[in-house]
């Protein structure tokens, strides 16, 4: 048991070191996540005339602040790394190592969390302090569920990144598909609009799709918008999607690696 833990710790250490080398890049990348702020400005303008489906101006502020935090906690960029390495052939190097490449990607992605949090936590924390009104939940049960939901959200993100990234084994470039996925995700996950504000029919459909579990679920848990007795079903659905998408990603990856020919390497 000690051995895998040591590997994980080493991977994270490398990830953190890498993040520090490319710190400027990561900071710009973080700034590019301004979409929640734009949407916040927009929805508060609308809510100034009166609350929308139970969302007042203050709720929107809390919602999008939490969204920014969860987005940075569960962010993933593996699809770009995988695409680039398949195209350039440098994946070969990873395949030679006695460690599954997916572990390495996971370590790299998670390694930038300390830097991200060092920047985003003070900002979001300060904003929460300055803004008075209904904000985070005080219920310990919700705070217990929050890290679980964030971890699940990250796992789902990673699985989708690997799934779409692995398609590049067949198509050489799967970033176009990624942008289609991102468009769907942005609308249905609660990134642009809280899931409660979607049209009724879309809400019913969305309740069974994985998008909400990738962002909206942890956000709504942090705000205490999900009743305690609904927590378990939601987390169960998230876990089910993790298993399903995770298995699919692993299967596709291993099939893809078998036909990988390392162009140009």
């Amino acid at each position: 048991m000690r051995h895998p833990l040591r590997i994980a710790a080493a991977l994270l250490r490398v990830g953190v070191a890498e993040a520090l080398v490319y710190r400027a890049q990561i900071i710009i990348w973080m700034l590019a996540t301004t979409l929640p702020l734009v949407m916040l400005a927009l929805w508060t303008t609308l809510a100034a005339e009166g609350p929308l489906q139970g969302y007042s101006e203050d709720t929107f502020i809390a919602y999008f602040l939490a969204t920014i935090l969860v987005r940075h906690l569960s962010e993933c960029w593996a699809v770009w790394a995988i695409n680039e390495e398949i195209r350039a052939g440098s994946l070969t190097l990873r395949l030679l190592r006695p460690l599954h490449p997916l572990w390495a990607y996971a370590g790299q992605v998670l390694g930038d969390r300390p830097l991200r949090l060092a920047i985003i936590l003070p900002l979001v924390g300060l904003a929460f302090l300055l803004h008075d009104g209904p904000d985070l939940t005080a219920d310990p049960l919700h705070w217990l569920a929050f890290p679980v939901a964030v971890a699940g959200a990250w796992l789902l993100q990673f699985a989708v990144h690997v799934l779409i990234g692995a398609l590049a084994f067949w198509t050489e470039q799967s970033l176009a598909l990624w942008s289609v996925w991102f468009g769907l995700w942005a609308l249905l996950s609660g990134y642009l609009v809280p899931a409660d504000l979607l049209p009724r029919w879309l809400q019913h459909l969305n309740a069974w799709l994985p998008f909400h579990a990738m962002l909206g679920l942890p956000v709504e848990i942090a705000l205490g918008r999900i009743p305690a007795h609904d927590l378990l079903p939601h987390l169960a659905l998230q876990a089910a999607w993790c298993l399903l998408l995770g298995a699919a990603a692993l299967a596709l990856w291993s099939r893809g690696v078998r036909r990988f020919e390392a162009y140009g390497a």
Partner: protein, 261 residues
């Protein structure tokens, strides 16, 4: 005249390059159309909740969206592919080959590549503008159309300038693909009417990076809500941005030391 001939030659080569993979070309055009539909979803969602957004009705906001889509098409067809290529040139040191050619380097890097598939969006934007005008029972006067087109041209100049300034930064930072990402994220706010925003968000998006001017003002011009001084102001701003970008590019070139040296 010579400048025009060089430009035409560059564009024709660029067109031929981008159409060499026909399936890819068709797919890209198709994707652009799908995106067009998707762009409208958040707008319809917002107006599903409220009849007006910052004083704009759905049909008026559709007009802003039309200009946003058109401008995005122009950006993805002409501006983005070129400037991304420059960054690649800088990283690999192949920029030297361009610099020794007997034509203005800025012209060479600005017209070297075109993605005609993205122009589908330009057509889509025009179609959407026609639909919006019909729903508004609006027959724009020729003068208003002219003003709107002039402002769209100005917006294109500002977009190009911001990109060129970002690329000039690449001479120092080498990797600026993230900078492009950042700008795209900010540009996305232009899909909404300017008055949908309040406070400092609106101030930043109007004065620092004038993305709100790029789409809302042409729409207002078409609606006949702008007067001549405002149009003049917007066009002057565009000119100032062009000059600033030219300056940034010249300064950057002077610091260029090629990749391998």
């Amino acid at each position: 005249m010579h400048l025009l001939r060089v430009s035409a030659a560059l564009l024709s080569v660029a067109l031929q390059t981008s159409m060499r993979y026909r399936l890819d070309f068709a797919l890209q055009g198709l994707m652009a159309l799908v995106w067009l539909g998707w762009t409208l979803a958040p707008l319809l969602l917002v107006f599903g909740e409220r009849p007006s957004l910052g004083g704009w009705s759905l049909d008026q906001a559709l007009l802003v969206m039309a200009f946003f889509i058109a401008l995005k098409g122009i950006m993805e067809a002409f501006i983005q592919p070129n400037l991304q290529q420059v960054v690649e040139h800088i990283r690999r040191g192949t920029l030297d080959l361009l610099l020794v050619k007997p034509a203005d380097a800025q012209l060479l890097i600005s017209l070297g590549r075109v993605e005609p598939a993205s122009l589908v969006q330009l057509l889509g934007g025009a179609a959407l503008a026609v639909v919006a005008c019909q729903r508004l029972h609006l027959t724009p006067q020729p003068l208003h159309i002219l003003a709107a087109l002039a402002l769209l041209g100005g917006a294109t100049c500002i977009l190009y300038s911001v990109w060129l300034i970002a690329v000039s930064a690449a001479f120092w930072f080498v990797r600026v693909d993230n900078l492009a990402n950042l700008f795209e994220a900010i540009f996305d706010a232009a899909r909404w009417p300017a008055s949908a925003f309040r406070g400092w968000v609106r101030a930043v998006l109007t004065f620092v990076i004038p993305v709100l001017l790029m789409t809302s003002w042409p729409a207002m011009a078409l609606l006949g809500q702008l007067d001549l001084p405002q149009i003049a102001l917007a066009l002057t701003l565009a000119l100032a941005f062009l000059l600033l970008a030219r300056l940034a590019w010249r300064t950057a070139l002077r610091h260029y030391t090629s990749a391998s040296s």
